[in-house]
Amino acid sequence: MLTNYFPILLFILVGLALGTVAIGVGKVLAPNKPDAQKLSPYECGFEPFEDSRMKFDVRYYLVAILFIIFDLEIAFLFPWAIVLDEIGVFGFWAMMVFLGILVIGFIYEWKKGALEWE
């Protein structure tokens, strides 16, 4: 089982190395003369006015949650696609019913205007 993961290990190592090298080279080669003024946070030259995190409109949340629901739905499609020839017509229709139920949700979403930004 573990030998199968060797390419992934290589991938992780290469990725790590690339990241480290890019940042490391920048650190070593770039000129770096910090002082108190340079290091202090500012907004357009002024002291920061408020916390940089601010409230989002709840509509972003709605979009995100609808995305998650359909993301989950997609997750169910992967195993189905792989074994479709084994599970036959029954499996096919099982998925169609599943998708049908979610399409009802989609119609609801559409008609309610949840996808519109106004």
Partner: protein, 487 residues
């Protein structure tokens, strides 16, 4: 694999409810807004009645399995499903005026209600840990959102939040218990679990741990003390129409959950869970009845009354015999009917800008509306367990089961606490009949609800007394379905 080999037809009621709920959801989008309420309402009530007819016309006489053992069709499941559908339909009828007056998204209210009913039905005929859990989640998810329907009301949102967080915690505890059970038995099907558990033996420590987790989660879900904190807030904060919905059918579903899990799967560990349930039940009856006395909000008082009734209902389960389970079933059926009527009365008295959920709002009701006062009188007597009512027989059968199980001391404590509890029910009768009416104008407004709600409410309350000649039949029915389940 085909639909025939899966025995799909056995799950027809569930499929029908789900399909109709989806249809109503879509239909509600396409019809004119002012007719929307009425159409969705009648279609939902029709769906529930039709489901009842479907179940009764094919009432199971023996146990049959479907969907590769995920689904079981037995008399107990069918009886519970009929009760769930009837109670939910009744609540829908009570809630219509209230929802209309307050601009609650009525389409969503009925659709989510129907999906919750579907979840309860799934639980009622689950034969597999997976279906039990999914049914529970389907129901809970609908209830969480129904509580938050008043989005700008602080109390409602707080209630929904509390219920959601605690409910999610309880679900995760339940899942932990289930996963332990799966790890120990290697099975998810309740019948298989039951046989493996009997091989593993009564004093298996790891199994006991799984039972602890499961019992804690169940106690959370039914709101037994010390896991009851969410009940008063939810009952109080939620829109009354939602509180009414939560207070009736989900209790039946909770019975199904407990029976399927503890009795269907883990009956051999009866000794283990009996001790836990005794503590939970005694605490529930004590705390529920005593704290209820201090309430001045009717919904909150009924919440504590629910807690104490849940304790009583656990007494039947913990006695661990077929007679005990059947007493519990009888108790929960009667209790759900009473609770349904109690919230029906609150909904009945509330007007467009008057919630009528304070105890003081009931003062002098007998002069304002003698008929409603009489209904309250019957209901409160029954909730307190005063003899000629169904509530008395429900308590009696549970106590009987306790004594038969050699738990006489528990029975004595239960009776004493029930007498204490009678105080706050009788106080309501005193408020209604002997106190001067309030002088605020809203409390004097004439009661204006549709006649269908009026008639159903009257039937609902009168049934509590009028059932007396047939009470034997109902008890026999409970005994019969439980016998079929246990053996």
């Amino acid at each position: 694999m085909t639909l025939q080999s899966l025995q799909t037809a056995l799950a027809l009621p569930e499929i029908f409810v789900a399909a109709m709920a989806s249809a109503i959801l879509i239909l509600g989008l396409f019809i004119n807004k002012d007719r929307n309420d009425i159409v969705c309402f009648w279609l939902s009530v029709f769906t529930l009645i039709a489901t009842c007819v479907l179940i009764i016309s094919d009432f199971a006489t023996q146990t049959a399995f479907a969907f590769n053992g995920l689904f079981v069709d037995d008399p107990m499941g069918d009886l519970l499903k009929v009760a769930i559908c009837l109670l939910s339909a009744t609540i829908f009828i009570y809630s219509r005026q209230y929802n209309q007056d307050r601009n609650i998204f009525s389409n969503e209210y009925y659709v989510l209600g129907l999906f919750a009913v579907c979840g309860m039905m799934v639980m009622a005929s689950a034969n597999h840990l997976l279906t039990l859990y999914l049914g529970l989640e389907l129901m809970s998810l609908c209830l969480y959102s129904m509580i938050a329907f008043f989005r700008d009301d602080k109390l409602a949102v707080e209630a929904a939040m509390k219920y959601f967080v605690l409910g999610a915690l309880a679900s995760s505890i339940l899942l932990y218990g289930m996963s332990l059970l799966y790890g120990l038995t290697g099975a998810l099907e309740l019948a298989v679990i039951s046989s493996v558990v009997s091989n593993l033996g009564k004093d298996n420590l790891a199994l006991a741990l799984a039972v602890v987790f499961i019992v804690v989660a169940l106690a959370f879900k039914i709101g037994a003390v010390p896991f009851h904190m969410w009940i008063p807030d939810v009952y109080h904060g939620a829109p009354t129409s939602t509180t009414a919905f939560i207070s009736a059918a989900p209790k039946i579903a909770a019975f199904a959950l407990i029976m399927r899990l503890l009795v269907g799967g883990l009956e051999d560990l009866h000794v283990q869970w009996q001790q836990m349930l005794i503590i939970l039940a005694l605490l529930s009856v004590a705390v529920g009845n005593i704290i209820a006395i201090a309430q001045d909000n009717l919904k909150r008082m009924l919440a504590y009354s629910t807690i104490s009734h849940m304790g009583f209902f656990l007494f039947g389960i913990l006695s661990g015999s077929a007679a005990g389970y059947s007493a519990s079933l009888f108790y929960i059926l009667i209790y759900a009917t009473m609770s349904c009527a109690a919230f029906g009365l609150i909904l009945y008295l509330s007007t467009k800008d008057f919630e009528s959920d304070q105890l003081n709002d009931l003062k002098g009701l007998s002069k304002r509306s003698p008929w409603t006062a009489l209904l309250f009188l019957i209901l409160m007597f029954s909730m307190a367990g005063v003899p000629p009512t169904a509530g008395f027989f429900a308590k009696l059968s549970v106590i009987q089961a306790l004594i038969d199980a050699n738990l006489a001391w528990v029975a004595v404590v239960a009776v004493v606490l029930a007498v204490i509890g009678a105080y706050y029910y009788l106080r309501i009768i005193k408020l209604i009949y002997f106190d001067a009416p309030q002088t605020i104008p809203e409390a004097d407004a004439p009661i204006a609800v549709q006649s269908d709600s009026k008639i159903v409410l009257a039937i609902n309350v009168i049934i509590i007394i009028a059932i007396l000649p047939w009470i034997g039949t109902l008890i026999t029915l409970c005994n019969r379905v439980i016998k079929q389940f246990v053996y």
